[in-house]
């Protein structure tokens, strides 16, 4: 039985007395499609920050394909195959999408660390970055400064940047948040087209997206895992309905 793509064991995070993440144990199987839902303030973003190393856990461990990564820095974790997108676009305003993707590609190809190596001489970096841009539908404006792109298209760049690292696990932080209906079609297509061998854990409030893509759903409330199951089980579970949707009884 291959090790799960991503696993956490009794992961905790305390800010003083406040337990923001409470004994969370997650198992994301290789190539899995898992959604993480929960009301605002349930500790979803803190969990992602713990996984990516932005925050250090108070206790518990995190394993990427069976290997513990608690001690690794964020960039080391990403290099091992943990990618993520940001809820609020965190991109490079004056660089073009092509250049942003080329940076991620160059890192993966080990092209950094050689200051006198001219970028434009390595056409393979440009080619791969351009192909990736086209794959998420950004071919059309991959040369304009990122700041000039529409919000929805910047979300696509977030995904392309995460994919450029050829991640084993991809954490999507509310990919559809703030995307107007007119632009969400392209986004859905890009998410659908994500490679099957990549395990995806996505945080989302948009229930259509959740029930369309997720194979298993984990419900997080007040930093603790309330329950976990297939979309069908979760939809029918009265406890989830009460806590999450605020509707009384079955």
């Amino acid at each position: 039985m291959t090790a799960p793509a991503l696993e956490t064991k009794a992961l905790c995070k305390q800010f003083g007395a406040l337990k923001v993440t409470n004994e969370v144990s997650l198992r994301l199987k290789a190539g899995g499609r898992q959604a993480l839902i929960g009301p605002n303030g349930a500790g979803k973003s803190t969990l992602i920050n713990l996984l990516t190393g932005v925050l250090a856990p108070s206790s518990g461990s995190i394993l990427l394909e069976g290997a513990p990564i608690n001690r690794l820095t964020t960039d080391q974790r990403v290099a091992l195959g943990l990618g993520r997108t940001f809820q609020i676009n965190a991109l490079f305003p004056h660089l073009s999408p092509l250049e942003s993707i080329m940076l991620a590609v160059a890192r993966r190809n080990g092209r950094l660390g050689r200051p006198l190596q001219a970028l434009h001489r390595e056409t393979d970096t440009t080619d791969e970055a351009f192909a990736l841009a086209c794959s998420v539908g950004l071919g059309r404006d991959c040369l304009r400064p990122t700041a000039e792109l529409a919000y929805g298209r910047q979300r696509l760049l977030e995904i392309a940047l995460a994919l450029a690292g050829r991640p084993r696990v991809l954490l999507l932080d509310e990919p559809a948040a703030g995307v107007p209906a007119s632009e969400s079609f392209e986004l859905m297509q890009a998410i659908e087209a994500l490679p099957r061998d990549v395990a995806i854990l996505f945080i989302e409030h948009d229930m259509d997206l959740v029930f369309r893509f997720a194979e298993t759903i984990t419900v997080l409330v007040a930093g603790t895992v309330l329950c976990e199951g297939t979309p069908g089980e979760i939809a029918g579970d009265s406890e989830v309905r009460r806590v999450y949707l605020g509707v009384a009884g079955g």
Partner: protein, 332 residues
């Protein structure tokens, strides 16, 4: 589906590294200066050296967004290293410049780990302290650095065994021109390399870079070492061409002058450092000749006016001009 083809993408990447008219114009004008102003060779040489020093700071500030209030620490260390080498019998210029660069690069490497940990206004203060530490150390060791009297007894062997460093500064000019131009090419390669792209990433969005699997600490370490090495070489050039090293090479005033030159020239344009240096040093020379006592008043006013108006610096303004002219000649 998309009107941007792969070939166009490749061309765009190549174009970004192409020489602009301003860069070409500057280096030709600098060479022409030798013939046009034979009496001002020492001034022209010090413009090139000042430009090289400002450019070394541009790598950190213009491209990496890392401000420094003590960059003269590297400049001065390079000057003293090359000066001491020559004062103790080894007057060969090229090895002296390399030695100056190595010494300053070593300091840059050592302090990059300290500076990489600090962000925002604190970087200004940490680099300020580093600069003041070196200044104080040099002034308290007169037996080594000559203290306030300066390091004397630097006699340079002829360049490549052929060209004597004469009174008129002819050899010194071409020597500084060649070293500055070579280091300019190296800096250009650096900012157009993947390493340079990562540095720009740090300037654009410091926290996002680790999420691409890129270690910001290592990028800053490389940037600091390269920038310090070039600053050290600029200092070594000054030591060799003036045959004396003063404490002023480590001073807060010289660090501030580099910031002024860079901002006047234009941040993040590489050639901006050189153009800013030439303008600032020329203006200071003309003003202080016109009015030896109160020239700082006019320099201050010019600086204030510049900060209130031309934010992009001279290169920003010149680029607008050349683009405008280009559009005039063959409007698309």
């Amino acid at each position: 589906m998309s009107d941007i083809t792969l070939d166009l993408a490749r061309i765009m990447v190549v174009n970004r590294a192409r020489w602009t008219t301003i860069e070409v114009a500057f280096w030709i004008a600098a060479a022409a200066g030798y013939f046009l102003f034979p009496a001002k060779l020492v001034l022209l040489t010090q413009m090139l050296i000042g430009g090289l020093f400002a450019m070394s700071l541009d790598l950190l500030l213009g491209y990496g967004g890392i401000a420094s209030f003590g960059h003269a620490a590297f400049f001065g260390l390079g000057a003293y290293a090359a000066g001491l080498l020559a004062a103790h019998g080894w007057g060969e210029p090229l090895s002296g410049v390399l030695f100056g660069g190595l010494a300053a690069g070593g300091l840059g490497l050592a302090f990059s780990s300290v500076i990489a940990k600090v962000r925002g206004a604190a970087v200004l203060m940490v680099t300020l302290c580093i600069g003041l530490l070196l200044f104080e150390a040099a002034s308290r060791m007169p037996w080594l650095t000559g203290g306030d009297t300066g390091l004397q007894g630097i006699d340079m062997w002829p360049l490549l065994g052929l060209f004597e460093f004469d009174l008129f500064g002819r050899t010194a000019f071409w020597y500084a021109y060649a070293v500055a131009f070579l280091l300019y090419l190296a800096a250009r390669r650096y900012i157009h390399s993947p390493e340079g792209l990562a540095l720009k990433g740090i300037r654009e969005n410091h926290d996002r870079v680790p999420m691409l699997g890129v270690s910001t600490a290592r990028r800053k370490m490389i940037a600091f070492t390269i920038s310090a090495t070039i600053a050290g070489m600029a200092g070594a050039l000054l030591a060799q061409t003036t045959q004396i090293v003063a404490l002023e090479t480590l001073s807060f005033e010289r660090s501030v002058a580099a910031l002024i030159m860079l901002t006047v020239g234009g941040l993040g344009t590489l050639i901006g450092g050189f153009i800013g240096a030439a303008t600032f040093i020329w203006a200071r020379d003309v003003l202080s000749a016109l009015n030896p006592v109160y020239w700082m008043f006019w320099l201050g006013l010019i600086l204030i006016a510049l900060m209130l108006t031309a934010r992009g610096g001279l290169v920003g303004a010149l680029t607008l001009l050349t683009n405008y002219l280009a559009r005039e000649r063959h409007p698309r």
